[in-house]
């Protein structure tokens, strides 16, 4: 996985090189975060073509856990302790590097 893959996944526009399986998981995550009630039988039918029931539960629990904790950590204004080049940095410097939006290290490096 590359930083470009992560950025494209966050942007909601998965690259053509991502598999259908990966796109479905990313779509499942995005819908859980924004409209979980819109996950209808067709979505689960599509997921079941690529994932077992166990894997869907694993994905759902992982996504739910992260939705909750990202919201909490967001209120703490908690930034990575390290700069993209590996330096240990203060929270103030990290805030300048990474900004307010959930961008990956690659995007952080370019700002």
């Amino acid at each position: 996985m590359t930083e470009a893959d992560i950025d494209e996944g966050i942007a909601g526009a998965p690259a053509a090189r991502l598999t259908d399986r990966e796109r479905l998981a990313l779509d499942f995550s995005a819908r859980m975060a924004t409209e979980p009630e819109a996950l209808d039988a067709a979505v689960y039918d599509a997921l079941r073509q690529h994932y077992s029931e166990e894997e869907i539960v694993e994905l759902g629990a992982f996504i739910g856990f992260n939705i909750g904790y990202h919201t909490f950590f967001g209120t703490l204004k908690f930034y990575p302790m390290f700069a993209p080049d590996g330096r240990l940095v203060s929270q103030e410097e990290a805030a300048q590097i990474y900004g307010d939006k959930p961008v990956s290290l690659a995007a952080g490096r370019s700002t």
Binding site: A61, I63, G64, G68
Partner: protein
């Protein structure tokens, strides 16, 4: 139903998992529906149930307050599953349905202490407007709670928020 069907708890062979499910059933939160769904991934189920039990019934923040917060969050999320559950421990400690209902209109209710109101505001803002929780908000929370208690509340709110999203997605 849409999503994932729960496994029958009686058919589970993992005794450690069954003990945790029994512990959760005794508390009343979560019940066998949540447990039966996450039991499809037993090592996840054990971690999730332990975290849910500890964050809800453990710690030093009043369990009755956390129960009101949990129901309040389920109301915001329009999550019928978690909204329908009640902690037997909280009820045993005197929490009533009338007080749970009142917690939806806590701001002008003198029956809620300032500390309780700030905890309820914390959960409300976390769900509806997390960007409004700033340094000044945390400074006010620290007038009523220790840093450990604020982390206990924040982690509890985040965990239940996440698990409510999970149930809204997979169990309908």
């Amino acid at each position: 139903m849409i999503g994932i069907a729960p496994l029958p708890v009686d058919a589970l062979e993992d005794q450690e998992l069954r003990a945790l499910i029994a512990q959760a059933a005794a508390l009343g939160v979560p019940d066998e529906r949540f447990a039966g769904i996450v039991a499809r991934v037993p090592h996840y189920a054990k971690a999730l149930l332990r975290a849910m039990l500890l964050s809800h019934a453990g710690g030093s923040v009043d369990h009755r307050l956390k129960e009101m917060i949990r129901v309040q969050l389920a109301g915001f999320a329009r999550d019928p599953y978690f909204a329908s559950l009640r902690s037997t421990k909280a009820i045993g400690e005197g929490l009533t349905e009338e007080r749970i209902a009142a917690s939806n209109r806590y701001e002008n209710d003198d029956r809620f202490s300032e500390a309780e109101k700030w905890a309820l505001r914390y959960a409300e803002r976390m769900y509806l407007a997390p960007h409004e929780i700033d340094a000044a908000f945390y400074a006010e929370l620290k007038r009523h709670y220790t840093e450990a208690q604020i982390m206990e509340l924040g982690a509890f709110i985040a965990f239940h928020y996440g698990m409510q999203v999970f149930m809204r997605a997979v169990a309908r």
